[in-house]
């Protein structure tokens, strides 16, 4: 009787120690689900979802506070991936958060720029360089096309230019020809 109790107690102690050790040794930093959602989001940091960046939106989705269809730059494909990851039903992009647009780049008309630095403060990824009363310019490779710099410019010198296809970014077309019904008038 006593031996059995001792064995059980010893087992409990050993297992408890092992679990305690594992909890410390293999602790998972951060929320892996948030990380996974964040990896799907396009990192435009545009705030169109109503959150101040992709990470806050990912956190909100993980907590169930936001829906999966609030990210216009991620588009249809992004929603499908999120639905896949979270095991939810696909739903079309919510209209109040915007529409999916082709990827564009902010371009500053350097003749008209007055050097007010407002766009530099608005840019979430530090893609605009310049100083007060000096001309500003966009670092094209860093620009995510979030459009946050466009409304803040007091002289409207920032335009969004769609990225043109070139030889290196050109993609082979999908070889399947879809058959569409002919609509008669």
């Amino acid at each position: 009787m006593l031996a059995a109790l001792l064995v059980m107690a010893l087992g409990a102690v050993i297992l408890g120690a092992a679990l305690g050790y594992a909890a410390v040794r293999f602790r998972v930093e951060g929320d892996p689900l948030t990380e996974k959602i964040d990896a799907i989001l396009p990192q435009t940091q545009c705030g169109q979802c109503g959150f101040p960046g992709c990470k806050p939106y990912a956190t909100a989705i993980a907590k169930g506070e936001a829906d999966i269809n609030q990210c216009p730059p991620g588009g249809d494909e992004g929603i499908r991936k999120l639905a896949d990851l979270l095991g939810r039903e696909y739903k079309p992009l919510s209209a109040e958060h915007g529409v999916e647009k082709p990827k564009a780049l902010a371009v500053i008309d350097e003749q008209r720029c007055i050097g007010c630095t407002l766009c530099i403060q608005a840019c979430p990824v530090d893609a605009i360089v310049g100083a007060a009363k000096q001309m500003h310019t966009v670092v094209a490779v860093q620009c995510t096309g979030c459009e946050l710099c466009v409304p803040v410019c007091p002289v409207d010198c920032i335009a969004m230019e769609p990225i043109a296809e070139n030889i290196t970014t050109w993609k082979w077309k999908y070889p399947v020809v879809t058959i569409k019904p002919v609509t008669t008038h």
């Binding site: 992709c54 979430p124 990824v125 860093q142 296809e165 070139n166 030889i167 970014t169 082979w172 070889p175």
Partner: protein, 576 residues
């Protein structure tokens, strides 16, 4: 495997050497005789040369010339830009002397029909060379030789245009067991390597000797398909003339795609390079015969790569090989070979792997091994695509040992992750699977689609990761700045407070009540601040120290003002 050779030498070599075999492959109609009847012709210099800056794998070289510059033949017009693409690019040169007419976007020999930056040169007809100096690699370091080859624009001429200098490792000495020279040229219609080997075997062997030295290779195997007996004989004569004991010309069985690098390595050495490995991991490196010739020209003659042999074949009256300056518009060549009137398409490369060209205006580039004119009769449009019947014929012929039908399903369904698991990127796009498919499915089109989608996804992912880093860094910086600002403000408030405490003799701060902790109460601080502000108030200086005359004048003015006011508004009381 025994292979019949034409002369005794071939038989001797092939009998002593055991050949291996690769799986799959097809035997299409070769159609090579027509263009091999006549020797290589020199194509005429066109009115304008359009030289694309981007001709190899890697970033676009930076243009070194501008409009109206005079250039000499062999002058570098585009330099590999280390700041953009690192080492991974190769230079381009003017193919003849003349003037730069434009540096602009021109249509490229690419299936997209898009344009890229080109240097347009109007030749002056003098064909004046730059100063040509041989480069003795034995007196230079390996890095210098690499840089020389990069600046001479030497790239792989087998079709992939991989910069040759990247195949020579920079740091340590290579120790290759086997150097393979690829003269197999397995695709139908293409005969440019055949013509080069027949006519310039000695120059090729000189280039091979340089590679042999540079890479410190144990043995050199030159693989040529056995449907090119004249080329095999010429190459063997050239090897015998130089008499190296470790260099062998080997006839390999004719079967498409024996000229694929991995396939030729397997046939000659029996080494099967597995997925994710390179042939150099197994001590084998492969170069095309055209590349060896270009290396000879660059190193022994000091001539950069400005021309290549191009086969013009298909729907033309006189198919043949031309030595063409890079940048020559394709229509110049097609005019030489007299394109037939019913030509309805142009293909760069062969019928198995070639790509359709958007126009005949596009220039010949370093990758152009063949220009194939097509017609409805020659290449009838494929029958309509039918559903896959899972016959497995494609898997039987796949030389890369893949499962083409699986790749097809995953590519068609856009399940790219699965396609990659089935080693989509091991596909060499040889076209054997499409060739045998009884349902006429353009399988390679699906693989090309899937590959370019995956590349686009990867580059998108990369830029998203960069954007995340930038965003997180900005968050961090903003937080730090806020902290610094509040720390600065707190420090300032503390100093002003201690300053206010430290000057009790000021009349305004005399009676500040002090709280129990020893610091002034907020109400007392406000009172003190108000007092200080009052003390600082500026009084007008022109109302003090007035002379009696001035005071009298002021009084008179005030009296007049009162009088005027009473006259203007008699009903109003005087306001002062």
């Amino acid at each position: 495997m025994e292979v019949s050779g034409r002369d005794h030498q071939t038989r001797h070599h092939t009998l002593t050497m055991r050949l291996f075999d690769f799986n799959g492959g097809v035997k299409p109609d070769y159609q090579k005789e027509a263009s091999t009847q006549t020797p290589i012709a020199v194509s005429p210099t066109p009115t304008f040369l359009v030289i694309p800056l981007h001709q190899s794998i890697g970033g676009t070289p930076r243009p070194l010339v501008s409009v109206d510059d005079r250039v000499l033949k062999g002058q570098r017009i585009g330099a590999a830009d280390a700041s953009i693409s690192g080492d991974l690019s190769s230079a381009v040169h003017a193919s003849t002397s003349g003037h730069v007419v434009a540096v602009e976007m021109r249509l490229m020999p690419h299936p997209s029909g898009l344009s890229a930056l080109c240097v347009v040169i109007a030749p002056d007809g003098r064909d004046e060379w730059i100063e040509r100096k041989p480069f003795d690699y034995r007196y230079h370091t390996r890095d210098e030789t690499r840089d020389y080859l990069r600046d001479a624009g030497v790239v792989g001429l087998g079709g992939a245009v991989f910069p040759t200098h990247l195949k020579i490792s920079s740091g340590k000495e290579d120790r290759l067991d086997t150097l393979i020279i690829n003269g197999a040229e397995c695709e139908p219609y293409i005969t440019c390597d055949d013509a080069l080997m027949k006519e310039r075997a000695d120059a090729i062997i000189q280039g091979v000797a340089i590679l042999h030295d540079l890479l410190a290779a144990g043995q050199v195997l030159i693989g040529i398909e056995d449907n090119k007996p004249e080329a095999i004989a010429a190459m063997q004569a050239a090897v015998r003339a130089r008499n190296p004991s470790d260099m062998e010309v080997i006839a390999v069985p004719t079967r498409y795609p024996a000229g694929g690098a991995k396939q030729l390595i397997r046939v000659l050495t029996g080494i099967e390079v597995p997925h994710g490995k390179r042939s150099t991991d197994y001590g084998v490196q492969c170069f095309n015969v055209g590349t060896a010739y270009a290396i000879h020209e660059a190193i022994n003659l000091g001539q950069p790569l400005i021309s290549r042999i191009v086969t013009v074949a298909g729907n033309v009256t006189t198919p043949r090989n031309y030595e063409v300056l890079v940048g020559t518009p394709m229509k110049t060549l097609l005019a030489q070979s007299q394109r037939l009137p019913d030509t309805d398409c142009l293909i760069m490369g062969g019928p198995m792997m070639g790509v359709a060209l958007p126009s005949d205006e596009v220039p010949v580039v370093k990758a152009t091994n063949c220009i194939l004119a097509g017609s409805k009769k020659l290449f009838p449009p494929p029958p309509p695509e039918m559903p896959c019947i899972r016959c497995g014929e494609c898997a039987t012929v796949c030389p890369a040992d893949l499962q083409p039908f699986e790749l097809y399903w995953f590519s068609r369904a856009k399940i790219f992750g699965k396609a990659q698991e089935y080693h989509l990127f091991d596909c060499i796009e040889c076209g054997c699977c499409s060739y045998v498919c009884p349902s006429h499915i353009p399988l390679v089109d699906y693989y090309r689609f899937a590959k370019s989608e995956i590349w686009a996804h990867e580059s998108e992912k990369e830029s998203a990761d960069k954007a995340r880093d930038h965003y997180e860094f900005r968050q961090l910086r903003e937080e730090r700045e806020t902290q610094e600002r509040s720390a600065r403000l707190a420090a300032k408030a503390a100093t002003s407070r201690t300053a206010a405490m430290a000057v009790p003799e000021t009349p305004a701060t005399e009676n500040i009540p002090v709280s129990a902790t020893g610091s002034a109460t907020p109400a007392a601080l406000i009172a003190a601040a108000l007092e200080r502000a009052r003390a600082q108030q500026v009084h007008p200086k022109n109302t003090t120290d007035l002379t009696p005359a001035q005071q009298a004048e002021i009084a008179a003015i005030e009296a007049r003002r009162t009088e005027i006011r009473t006259q203007a508004h008699p009903h109003l009381p005087l306001d002062d």
